[in-house]
């Protein structure tokens, strides 16, 4: 059993989908503390979603294949944990908000109740939990509407609410904003920000790095199934190799790399705020930005 504050522990995890030629995850080892927010990045096919499926138990329950290594949550083995118990520990939100709706419920309220009904939660508690999450995600006014009538952002919030109503201790979001417009994206990230304050451990796969870096404590960089880096955003994005993995970087980091601007600690800024602070500092020192032509 790991350290008491360790929520998720992954040791030498390797996984290969059935009929696949190559492994999708190779010898992954990392640990995540309770309450931490972790960003998972990597280009397509890096194994990001596969890692989410392992942690949420979909592998090996839904996808079979060959899995080796050890994955534990609170010291308990994930692949063999009973589904009912696992659901109360881990919630997973997928990228397409439309296909996450059960499709069997006619109202937003009933949609949120779907998971609770499956778990046999008593009616009074069910109403209490549903009311709470709908208010928390600003969906209470929409409770009698058909889920398919919601906008993309609202639908994704509904998907998150439908998972969080089960009170998981860990929430995994697999590219939750990939199909949303800027407004929908902001709505989802505001929701994530709320969840952080509740102490939920969050793992989020995301390509919108400018947003991501503002919300996560650490970033895991995956490439061709291997974990190449697991550190703070400024560590990960300041490396010169990052560009060779084809994952991109925050626009602010790219700009500062081009201009040769580093923070006092020697790393490049990753967020808008850090970049502005750095540029303001330069102005105060009497230096012209144009002199930094990288």
């Amino acid at each position: 059993m790991g350290d008491v504050s360790t929520k998720i522990s992954i040791e030498h995890l390797t996984y290969k989908y059935p009929f696949a030629k190559n492994v999708s995850l190779e010898d992954i080892t990392l640990s995540i503390d309770a309450g931490q927010s972790i960003g998972i990045i990597g280009r397509n096919g890096a194994g990001k979603s596969t890692l989410c499926y392992v942690l949420s138990g979909l592998i090996p329950r839904f996808f079979h294949g060959k899995i080796t290594g050890k994955v534990t949550i609170d010291g308990e083995d994930v692949p063999t944990m009973p589904l009912e118990k696992l659901i109360r520990k881990v919630g997973l939100v997928l990228q397409n908000p439309f296909s996450q709706i059960s499709g069997a419920k006619m109202t937003v309220y009933e949609e949120v109740a779907f998971g609770l009904e499956n778990l046999g939660i008593e009616k009074d508690e069910m109403h209490e939990r549903i009311d709470t999450v709908l208010r928390q995600f600003d969906l209470y006014k929409k409770k009698d509407e058909n889920p398919f009538e919601l906008s993309g952002g609202q639908l994704q919030r509904l998907a998150i609410a439908s998972v969080l109503v089960l009170k998981p201790e860990i929430l995994i979001l697999d590219e939750p904003t990939s199909q949303l417009d800027p407004r929908g994206t902001t709505e989802v990230f505001e929701t994530i920000s709320q969840l952080k304050t509740l102490g939920i451990t969050i793992l989020i796969v995301e390509h919108k790095f400018e947003k991501l870096v503002e919300y996560v404590d650490k970033i895991a960089l995956l490439h061709e199934g291997k974990l190449l880096g697991y550190d703070t955003a400024e560590h990960i994005f300041s490396t010169s190799e990052i560009e060779t993995y084809g994952v991109g970087q925050p626009i602010y980091t790219a700009l500062c790399k081009r201009m040769g601007l580093k923070k006092a600690n020697g790393y490049y800024p990753v967020s808008f705020g850090e970049t502005v602070a750095l540029l303001n500092g330069l102005k105060g020192s009497g230096m012209d930005r144009r002199t930094y032509n990288g």
Partner: protein, 258 residues
């Protein structure tokens, strides 16, 4: 709301009845009209079902439903009137064809049975939210998996239709001819089928994953956020229906033995 449903929102006594009560009425009235080869019995049930439709304020919609089967009913009259094997007594001649009394009476019997079937099921469908019917059946013991299939089809098929129109637009914008002669339409159909089937399969897989992580396959007792209430009226109607069913079966056996 894009749902495959003919439900008419209203606040009547029939709307408030438990869906299973209405389903039971439809089934038992159909069985009774088929048990008795009597136009009168059929006509009584047609009249009663119509009365239910009027009191539920869905009469106009009901006429539309009946309109759909009008041609079938008319063809029954013609075929049985002309060719029923027990035809003996000529009733009238039309355009040189002789219609027989026995055939016309038999077609009338078939008509009351079919019309009753449509009206009694019509009352159920027009006054019940489809999800309520499915929820009620699941709460009474129908497999949740089967209930899920029934309920989701009502919403997912209209969504698939909307996806089809998106794919059609996308293919059209790339020069696909979706209109024109039969051959052009047929070849366009295959160009639409591929993306539609693949898209539906991907969505179905994601939906299966999403409901799995919300405990869909967890065994054990389920609870329901919306309990479909069984009122006193429901109980009495159900008891009356069971009694009517038993009486009808016994009566039919007696008639058969005698």
């Amino acid at each position: 709301m894009r749902v495959l449903s003919l439900y008419v929102e209203n606040d009547t006594f029939i709307h408030k009845l438990e869906p299973i009560t209405k389903l039971l009425y439809a089934l038992i009235s159909i069985v009774i009209t088929f048990l008795f080869p009597s136009i009168m019995v059929g006509a009584v049930f047609v009249a009663f079902s119509l009365l239910l439709a009027i009191s539920a304020k869905v009469f106009k919609r009901m006429l539309l439903l009946l309109n759909v089967v009008l041609i079938v009913l008319l063809s029954m009259v013609i075929i049985q009137g002309l060719f029923y094997r027990e035809n003996v007594t000529p009733a009238f001649r039309l355009w040189g064809l002789t219609f027989y009394k026995e055939g016309l009476l038999y077609s009338l019997l078939l008509i009351v049975r079919v019309v009753n079937m449509i009206i009694s099921f019509g009352v159920l469908i027009l006054t019940t939210r489809p999800s309520d019917l499915v929820d009620d059946l699941v709460q009474k013991g129908l497999s949740p998996r089967f209930g899920y299939v029934l309920a989701s089809v009502l919403q997912i098929i209209p969504q698939m239709l909307s996806t089809t129109s998106t794919i059609t637009d996308a293919q059209r914008s790339r020069g696909l001819e979706t209109e024109g002669n039969l051959f052009q339409r047929f070849s366009a159909f295959f160009a639409l089928l591929g993306p539609l089937v693949l898209n539906s399969l991907v969505e179905a897989r994601e939906r299966a994953m999403a409901i799995e992580i919300r405990g869909f396959s967890v065994e054990g007792k389920r609870t329901f956020v919306r309990q479909i209430p069984e009122t006193k009226a429901d109980r009495w109607i159900k008891i009356s229906l069971y009694v009517a069913f038993i009486v009808a079966v016994v009566w039919r056996i007696i008639l058969w033995v005698m």
